[in-house]
């Protein structure tokens, strides 16, 4: 029997499985208070998914406010849409708007690596599409447990194949991302997916349902039983097999990239014809989310006839239809006069489209099923007025101990040449080719830079050559040692990576992956990281335009390293002046190191890989310096003074040298001063290795000196040598280095 509103009124004391749906006692009580009766099954399903941590941001909201508080009007000046919309939108010039966002799909990808990762890509792409933009490229920051662990061998190949399988078939180039290994991600890998899209400024679409009488059209795939309760069950609770609770069935959705490709082209044609008044993608929480958010953001109510929804399974209940997370679906609001034209476009693409509802007067979201009312709620209470928690915050008791355990006493090796090779072959620094080779980076012909470049770069205007660069970064070890500084360092690195390609950084997105918000120590990490990121953005003068929070990333009581992945978007007026990562593009290049090197090994890759050590303090972030460095790089690119640039991060100068030589396929001779171990392996921030044509050297260093950016000449490119030579240490043949750098991942995963 279907649980109707009438039935709910008649049976006020009927027991409901709210706890199994992830709702707490007080949350259930509040729903009853709002409705002045018990919720129907369908209403309970809606509230439970929409009030889940994943959808409602109930633990993070009070902290995320700080992003808004620290964003000045000047920072906001280029922002066309910000936090709260499907994705942030930035004016990038020449009449173009660019939208980008990164989201997590961590828990589904652990349960079912291929489909979890695939639908992660699919979901973020629909977010970008829902802004009215053509999706242009994807990136995937990934994190796994120990590389040699059995479970990593299950999870990694599946996730990589899923990202590739979906993205390749969808026809979006994959232009970068991250692959990081750390034991803390062992039972909880991180799969973050980023998408960037572009549109003309005037084509921006926002999600709202306005205008009484307008029709609500569901189009795309049929609705099935997959992914029911995905957000409340999977994303909002820790995997915990010891508590003796009833084992939950995996509820991972299954993706169909072909349907999504057709949905994209169909939607873009609809946008182009100007027949869409409002648009919303269906992702986590499915129709519950789409209908309540559309209605909540509009100026009226909405009536939905749930029995009209095309199904792919028999006997689905209203609650199941509302909470299904079947992929490849969109919801549009269309004026009655445009419905026929809308249906015509969908028919051309063989996309199923169904008028399922109507914008009504009043302020209720009413959903009927075969003429019986199963939902009658104020939509704002579902979509925007969920619970808000001020979770307890407590600096971890062992934080001081952790910071006191510095790497200073770790034995430093004698044979530095050998160490260069060892580090190049370490799982976190080794070539990502085994992964990126499974991703199409060429489709659509706009990819100017992709992995292993510092940033991905996409041309958005073929006439003018205008384009955007994107990088995502985070070092969870730094954030563990000092979440505030660590978040700033993640921002600094992404910013530097973008600037190193010659683009000007303009906006920030983030994906904040943390442990359980019910753990005060995790909430302290979260609060600190948000502050660090927001303060850093204010110092750099670029806004956070959106983001995503993923809590409950832990196994048992052990949380992952706090991992605030930061994505920075840069703009370049002409992609032809992009700076490549590899040296050797010009005859006769000098290598310069910009920035300063200090003895900073806390959280370093060397301490991690060689000693399994994590302690001390991370490197210092100096965002004023990062900004200056960025300006110098952009000026260098504009005036043709820089022929290659590579940022220094994990692994320090040694790793940057190895990579720039191997990517450029030419050798170099390097001369360093002072303590060679520090010079080669320290991870001080704010540094970039650049190659400048000898003819431009004087002009370039004069500019650095005049603007007070420390620089040092560290070597020359030597196209004849086929080796990396470090004066005083000896030389490493490039063949040998390549074998070390490229051999690691195939040996682990082939």
């Amino acid at each position: 029997m279907i649980d109707t509103v009438k039935n709910a009124e008649a049976t006020p004391d009927q027991e409901q499985p709210y706890q199994e749906l992830g709702l707490k006692d007080d949350e259930y009580a509040r729903i009853k208070e709002i409705l002045k009766r018990r919720p129907t099954d369908a209403e309970l399903a809606m509230y439970s998914v929409m009030w889940s941590e994943h959808c409602s941001y109930k633990s993070s909201k009070v902290h995320l406010k700080y992003f808004g508080d620290t964003t000045t009007d000047e920072m906001r000046s280029k922002m066309l849409a910000g936090i709260g919309e499907n994705a942030g939108v930035v004016d990038v010039g020449d009449g173009w708007a660019v939208t980008f966002k990164v989201e997590s799909h961590n828990h589904p990808s652990y349960v079912e690596p291929y489909q979890g990762a695939a639908t992660g890509v699919g979901g973020i792409v629909r977010d970008i599409l829902a802004m009215g933009a053509r999706p242009l490229a994807v990136m995937d920051p990934l994190r796994f447990g120990r590389p040699d662990a059995e479970d990593t061998k299950r999870v990694l190949p599946g996730i990589v194949a899923g990202v590739g399988g979906y993205g390749n078939c969808l026809g979006l180039p994959n232009i970068g991302g991250e692959v990081v290994f750390d034991e803390s991600y062992q039972g909880n890998p991180l799969v973050n997916a980023l998408c960037v899209g572009a549109m003309r400024v005037e084509d921006l679409h926002l999600a709202h349902a306005s205008g009484t009488g307008n029709k609500v059209i569901l189009y795309g795939a049929r609705t099935g039983l997959d992914g029911i309760g995905g957000v409340s069950v999977l994303a909002s609770e820790t995997f915990d097999d010891t508590a003796g609770k009833r084992k939950k069935l995996p509820s991972v959705q299954v993706g169909d990239p072909f349907t999504e490709k057709v949905l994209i082209e169909c939607s873009l044609e609809l946008f182009e014809k100007g027949i869409v008044a409002g648009i919303q993608d269906l992702g986590g929480a499915g129709l519950s989310c789409a209908t309540s958010e559309l209605a909540s953001a509009g100026d009226g109510g909405m009536h939905v006839w749930l029995d009209r929804v095309p199904l792919r399974a028999k006997n689905m209940t209203p609650a199941e239809i509302l909470s299904s997370e079947s992929q490849e679906r969109m919801c549009a609001v269309v004026e009655p006069a445009n419905v026929a034209a809308f249906m015509e476009v969908c028919a051309k693409w063989d996309v199923i489209a169904t008028e399922i509802g109507e914008v009504t007067e009043g302020d209720r979201l009413v959903i009927t099923y075969h003429d019986e009312v199963v939902v009658d709620v104020p939509p704002r209470t579902v979509a925007h007025e969920g619970p808000v928690y001020h979770r307890p915050i407590q600096r971890p008791a062992d934080q001081d101990e952790l910071q006191a355990n510095t790497p200073d006493s770790l034995p430093r090796p004698e044979n530095l040449l050998e160490l260069i090779k060892i580090m190049a072959a370490s799982p976190n620094l080794a070539s990502r080719k085994w992964v990126t080779q499974q991703y199409d980076r060429y489709v659509r012909g706009g990819t100017v830079l992709a992995q292993p470049s510092d940033s991905g770069m996409i041309r958005i205007d073929e006439e003018t050559g205008r384009g955007v660069a994107l990088s995502t970064d985070c070092n969870g070890r730094y954030t563990k040692l000092d979440p505030y500084e660590g978040a700033k360092l993640a921002l600094a690195e992404a910013y530097r990576n973008v600037a190193a390609t010659g683009a000007t950084p303009v906006a920030v997105t983030n994906c904040l992956n943390f442990g359980s918000p019910e753990d005060p120590a995790v909430m302290w990490q979260f609060e600190q990281a948000v502050k660090g990121l927001a303060d850093g953005c204010a110092e750099l003068g670029i806004p956070v335009t959106g983001g995503n929070v993923s809590f409950y990333n832990q196994t048992g009581s052990t949380a992952i390293l706090p991992t605030p992945v930061v994505g920075v978007l840069g703009v370049i007026d002409d992609v032809r002046r992009r700076i490549p990562t590899g040296i050797g593009a010009e005859a006769g290049e000098t290598l310069l190191l910009l920035g300063e090197t200090h003895d900073e090994f806390g959280g370093s890759e060397w301490a991690h890989h060689v000693h399994g050590h994590l302690g001390g303090l991370p490197p210092k972030a100096d965002l004023k310096r990062e900004k200056l460095l960025g300006e110098i790089l952009v000026a260098g690119s504009r005036d043709g003074m820089v022929s290659a640039a590579h940022d220094l991060s994990e692994g320090g100068l040694a790793q940057a040298l190895v990579e720039t030589c191997l990517i450029g396929e030419v050798g170099a001779r390097v001369f360093l001063e002072g303590d060679l171990f520090t010079a080669l392996f320290s991870e001080s921030a704010g540094r970039v290795l650049v190659a400048v044509p000898r003819t431009e050297e004087q002009r370039f260093v004069d500019m650095c000196t005049a603007r007070r950016l420390p620089w040092r000449k560290v070597g020359v490119v030597d196209p004849e040598s086929n080796a990396l030579e470090v004066q005083g240490l000896g030389e490493l043949p490039l063949d040998e280095l390549r074998e070390a750098w490229e051999g690691t991942l195939p040996a682990l995963f082939d």
Binding site: G164, N168, C169, K261, Q437, R441, T447, V448, R459, V575
Partner: protein, 223 residues
């Protein structure tokens, strides 16, 4: 020169093929899978992607599309037709070219810059190359392993119908390192690698692929 570029639902590299035609000073004419005529084009490109999702066997459904019936008829009368990647798979399914494309031998999708040797420079699409020239173009496919029976291989080899051959490490297990072939007449060419992604060193590894579209220009002008 008017060159038709087919779009099936799920086609991905149609925009790239159109761009390559423009780079060779041609006019790209979009053709839809349901079209029943070729709009008077001089040649047709069947581009890469995943036609209809390719959930069955790559190209198996696309060969039955209305527009393909027109392409088959025109190809048999001598119209230049180029199949790239999924396009090659479709031409093989349509029996315009012999053999079949199977899952890569290492089972992974492979996207890499690939050296190819141009062995036949007399097809409609390869006259601009020097014989045995080596070119660098992207290869990106999960089912690119070329398979054919011994008789077919012999026929291809003996008659110089292998147009492109992989140089170095075989990327997908193709028999005889075959990357691309032609029909007996030389007007239909299919290859797994993507010349349309190598028309400008800004966005591709090289501009080595442009020669195929310029070759077509010569062929069409001569005809």
């Amino acid at each position: 020169m008017r060159v038709g570029v087919i779009t099936f639902p799920g086609t991905l590299d149609d925009v790239d093929a159109q761009r390559a035609v423009r780079y060779a000073d041609g006019e790209a004419v979009p053709l839809w899978h349901g079209d029943h005529d070729l709009k008077g084009v001089d040649a047709v490109i069947v581009p890469g992607g995943f036609s209809y999702g390719d959930y069955l066997r790559c190209g198996a459904i696309a060969r039955f599309a209305p527009v393909m019936q027109e392409v088959i008829e025109a190809a048999n009368k001598g119209m230049p037709v180029l199949g790239i990647c999924n396009g090659f798979q479709i031409l093989a399914e349509a029996h315009l070219l012999p053999g079949a494309l199977t899952r890569n031998h290492r089972l992974h999708f492979v996207c890499r810059d690939q050296w190819l040797k141009v062995e036949n420079t007399s097809t409609a699409w390869t006259t601009r190359y020097d014989k045995n020239a080596e070119i660098l173009v992207p290869l990106k496919s999960g089912e690119g392993g070329y398979q054919a029976d011994e008789d077919t291989l012999k026929e291809l080899e003996d008659n110089g119908r292998v147009v492109f051959r992989y140089v170095g490490d075989n990327p997908n297990g193709s028999r005889n390192n075959i990357a691309g072939i032609t029909n007996a007449r030389g007007n239909v060419v299919g290859l797994m690698p993507h010349p349309e992604h190598a028309i400008d060193a800004l966005t591709g590894p090289t501009d080595d692929g442009l020669g195929m579209f310029l070759s077509l220009l010569d062929t069409v002008v001569k005809a």
